[in-house]
């Protein structure tokens, strides 16, 4: 389980912003927090950090979300590391 505190900058375009707001409300992994203007605090809870990454990428790709910043992350799992060797692909 990984938990991230995110700050989303929503689009000033009302149509795409509303689409983003609907997406956020319908995704069970996302909990909405305080909002100031177009800036919205959310908490994203995913099974792994990798899935958290994918969620962030998907949010960033949405036309109603202009920017995403990460304010907090708790990597509960996935402390695994890559061990590098010369010639690793």
């Amino acid at each position: 389980m990984a938990v991230g505190g995110l700050v989303l900058s929503l689009s000033s375009d009302a149509v795409s912003r509303r689409a983003a707001e609907e997406l956020l409300r319908s995704d069970p992994r996302i909990e909405e927090g305080p909002r100031e203007g177009l800036r919205l605090a959310v908490v994203a809870t995913t099974d792994t950090l990798g899935q958290g990454h994918e969620l962030c990428e998907a949010l960033l790709a949405h036309p109603g979300i202009e920017n995403l910043e990460v304010a907090y992350v708790a990597p509960e799992e996935e402390r695994a590391a890559v061990v590098l060797h010369e010639g690793d692909e």
């Binding site: 900058s9 927090g33 203007g37 990798g50 990454h53 590391a81 590098l84 010369e86």
Partner: protein, 793 residues
């Protein structure tokens, strides 16, 4: 409710608090002003992020001697609670499976573990054998106390100036550019942001977010991206000006030419605050020579928009557009640059010229209205520039070549007169050339001690400057490291190091902000602090009889006493944390910082804050005040009364900044029939520099697992290569193999390719050029001639 659910609830509330704090500032504080706080089983304390030079502060959550959570610090002015993708993984960088945990000595093709006692003995005896043939190589990742100790050890102890940092490879031109101009920094409030060969959207994302985020609040910020390839910064830009490699020099000259031609320069500012300078004929110096305004005007007269278009590829009307912006005094213009202008054979010149554009147009020294060089390392400014861990420098802006400066340092270090050597040591490229050349052929550096950097991957033209070490039995490489790296592959002695919050530290970030943190977890195994290593080797040298390891009263060079005046044997690891060695070294260093009005505060003041920007000056009520805008009378206490600006300590000694003229010279190597492509190298968002830390963070490694070569689709088609195909990228110096990416996040134009340098398994620096700027000695990693060959052909 089970324990797992409790923990999840806690983490979710902490995550929401941190995010909410970034949206609605000051709604939450995770740790108190006076240090660590304990909350629900986690101990929270502050620390600056250990990656780039932005200096974001994080809150570190520790449980059971392990970093388990990271949050942006809402109390930090730099990042106001936000972090980039690397920043929020900074804690995981400590926990790669292959951390080095014991000293290792080379035996044949492998290594055997040895004790610390043996390791110190080997290192000290190696140095003792030929102290003048020893060199110390560090970086802007040295904390201020670590760099200060290394500096004192070399110049005050060994009387040897062969100490240089990898910052020579990343910010030396910015420093020499600053020095050539002012003998100076603030982007968030600008109307126009010009990025000069810079990609802050990926490399300094928090800083860039601060600017871009203003748009989501309805403010207007015009972003002009001047670059040699489209990047994520381009995606946010209003104007993209694609220049030929090296075209930045011509563009700056063109803007100066138009400001002069149209008479739109800031005459009052220039008259009061600026001089004009040019390089001398024959053997030019960094300082150059004074010239009058007419002579300077003649120097820039030939750089008409049409000439600049030819040299830079930027249409003449766009040069006029830039000049028009600079000619408008109502606008606030920030120029941002980083390695594009610094890793440049005309790096000092182009830094000086862009500063010149801002000075000549009066866009200087006001919030959002200034030129700003970004650094890639967390303490490049604090440790390298200010502590002076460079072959020619001493702390406090002193120079080894000046007798009066040496005397000042000898006095402060209580050393006998004449101890410090007056001849500058070897700069980075020269140091490694001398190390990888056989002794019989004049290679007069036999032993190098590397701390906090990875030259085996970052030096340019590695086959010439690093790989040639292999097989030279008389050469000995000591490497203090956290993980196995491309540098440890050729090491003879590996010393396992503590990193980040495994030790106390003080950094100085890009904006002059000095930041302190405390050790919060123990390092793994027998890993130890770099500062301790330097002190312990110095003590071992003293035991071996090296006279330089004592001051003129016979005391150890790193004599540290407790509050009762009793010496503490900090060279013994078991006593290193009996007292705060960082504090002792910072207090010893402070008098140096006052020499050029870069005063830092007492150590304890930094414990209370998220950093303070120098000069930090004591107020009548005993409090300490930082300076946000240096040289500006409204904020800088050292500006003389009655002046609005004063460039005190300018190279001309009259409080004025220098506007230089530097003629455009073509790059030393350009594409030709044999090597038809421009090669540019750089970084990616997910990985920090050589990836030794970030590639060990699983999510980052997965997000960007391997280096690649960005190729324009037309070039790929002409070469008959396709996306994902592994090709050979080669130059006259070497080769590497990389998969092709034609639809990457960066989009080079036809005839150009780009390769990131984070991947040690695909070292692009086997291919790059080691020719460097004549003043900063910084190599040009951004342009050389290369070609792509299909494998098997």
């Amino acid at each position: 409710m089970g324990a797992g659910t409790d923990r999840r609830s806690f983490l979710k509330s902490a995550a929401m608090a941190a995010a909410a704090a970034a949206v609605v500032p000051a709604s939450v504080a995770l740790a108190g002003d006076d240090g660590a706080s304990v909350d629900d089983g986690l101990t929270w304390d502050k620390a600056p992020c250990r990656f780039c030079g932005t200096g974001c502060h994080v809150q570190v959550g520790v449980k059971d001697d392990r970093v388990v959570a990271i949050a942006g610090d809402p109390k930090a002015d730099v990042n106001k609670g936000l972090l980039c993708v690397k920043g929020y993984h900074v804690g995981m960088a400590l926990y790669g499976k292959d951390r080095l945990t014991e000293p290792l000595l080379r035996k044949g093709d492998g290594f055997v573990p040895i004790s610390w006692d043996e390791a110190l003995d080997i290192a000290a005896k190696r140095i003792m054998k030929a102290p003048e043939r020893f060199a110390f190589y560090g970086s802007g990742q040295w904390t201020i106390p670590e760099g200060y100790a290394a500096q004192k050890f070399m110049k005050g102890g060994l009387a040897n100036n062969h100490i240089d940092p990898n910052a020579r490879l990343c910010m030396a031109s910015a420093v020499t550019g600053f020095i050539a101009t002012y003998g100076v920094d603030e982007p968030a409030g600008c109307d126009v942001l010009i990025t000069w060969g810079n990609n802050p959207a990926e490399m300094h994302p928090v800083l860039f977010s601060r600017v871009i985020d203003r748009r989501s609040r309805g403010e207007t910020v015009k972003v002009i991206d001047i670059g040699t390839r489209r990047t994520r910064t381009t995606d946010q830009a209003d104007e993209y000006l694609e220049m030929k490699p090296h075209g930045d020099v011509a563009i700056a000259l063109g803007i100066l030419n138009r400001l002069r031609h149209h008479g739109t320069w800031d005459k009052e500012f220039v008259k009061k605050h600026c001089n004009f300078r040019a390089l001398q004929a024959g053997k030019p110096t960094l300082k150059g020579e004074a010239i009058d305004f007419d002579t300077w005007s003649e120097g820039i007269a030939k750089y008409t928009p049409e000439v600049v278009e030819e040299l830079s590829g930027i249409p003449a009307e766009k040069i006029e557009m830039l000049a028009k912006l600079f000619g408008d005094r109502k606008l606030k213009i920030t120029s941002l640059w980083c390695m594009g202008m610094n890793q440049h054979t005309m790096g000092t010149a182009v830094n000086s010229l862009v500063h010149g554009v801002h000075l000549f147009s009066g866009h200087f020294g006001k919030p959002g209205d200034a030129p700003t060089s970004l650094t890639g390392q967390p303490s490049a400014c604090g440790t390298v520039r200010e502590v002076g861990t460079l072959a020619h420098a001493l702390p406090g802006g002193r120079l080894v070549a000046k007798e009066a400066h040496r005397t000042q340092c000898e006095d402060l270090w209580n050393l006998p007169k004449g101890r410090i050597n007056g001849k500058p040591g070897y700069h980075t490229v020269k140091m490694w050339e001398q190390f990888t050349s056989p002794s019989a052929e004049g290679g007069d550096i036999d032993t190098i001690f590397v701390q906090v950097t990875n030259p085996g991957q970052t030096l340019p033209n590695l086959n010439h400057l690093f790989n040639d070490k292999k097989g030279l039995k008389e050469k000995f490489l000591i490497v203090s490291e956290v993980y196995p790296t491309a540098t440890t592959w050729l090491a003879d002695l590996i010393l396992p190091a503590s990193m980040w919050v495994e030790k106390n530290g003080v950094f100085g970030n890009s904006e002059r902000r000095t930041q302190q943190w405390f050790k919060q977890v123990n390092p793994p195994g027998d890993a130890r602090d770099d500062c301790w290593m330097t002190i312990a080797i110095a003590h071992r040298l003293m035991e071996l009889g090296h006279p330089g390891m004592k001051d003129k009263d016979g005391k150890f060079l790193f004599h540290v006493a407790d509050e009762n005046g009793k010496a503490v044997p900090v060279w013994k690891w078991e006593h290193y944390y009996d007292m705060n060695v960082d504090k002792a070294l910072v207090e010893e260093y402070r008098p140096f910082t006052r020499m050029k009005h870069k005063d830092i505060a007492p150590y304890d003041e930094y414990v209370k804050t998220r950093g303070l920007r120098w000069p930090v000056v004591e107020q009548k009520d005993g409090s300490w005040r930082e300076t946000r805008f240096r040289f500006s009378a409204f904020d800088d206490p050292y500006v003389k009364e009655g002046q609005d600006f004063e460039f005190y300590h300018s190279t001309s000694g009259d409080g004025r900044a220098q506007i230089g003229v530097h003629d455009y010279k073509p790059p030393p190597e350009m594409p030709d029939g044999e090597y038809p492509l421009w090669l540019c190298t750089g970084r990616v968002l997910e990985h920090w520099h050589t990836g030794t830390m970030t590639r060990r963070v699983a999510p980052l490694a997965r997000a960007m697992p391997t280096a690649y070569v960005e190729v324009h689709p037309e070039d790929a088609q002409a070469l008959g290569v396709s996306d994902g195909e592994v090709v050979i990228v080669e130059s006259r110096r070497g080769t590497t193999e990389l998969p092709v990416w034609t639809k990457g996040r960066g989009r080079p134009p036809e005839g150009s390719i780009f390769v990131p340098f984070f991947d040690e398994t695909r070292r692009i620096n086997d291919v790059t050029l080691h020719l460097h700027d004549p003043f900063s000695k910084q190599p040009d990693y951004k342009k050389c001639a290369a070609r792509i060959r299909k494998k098997g052909r």
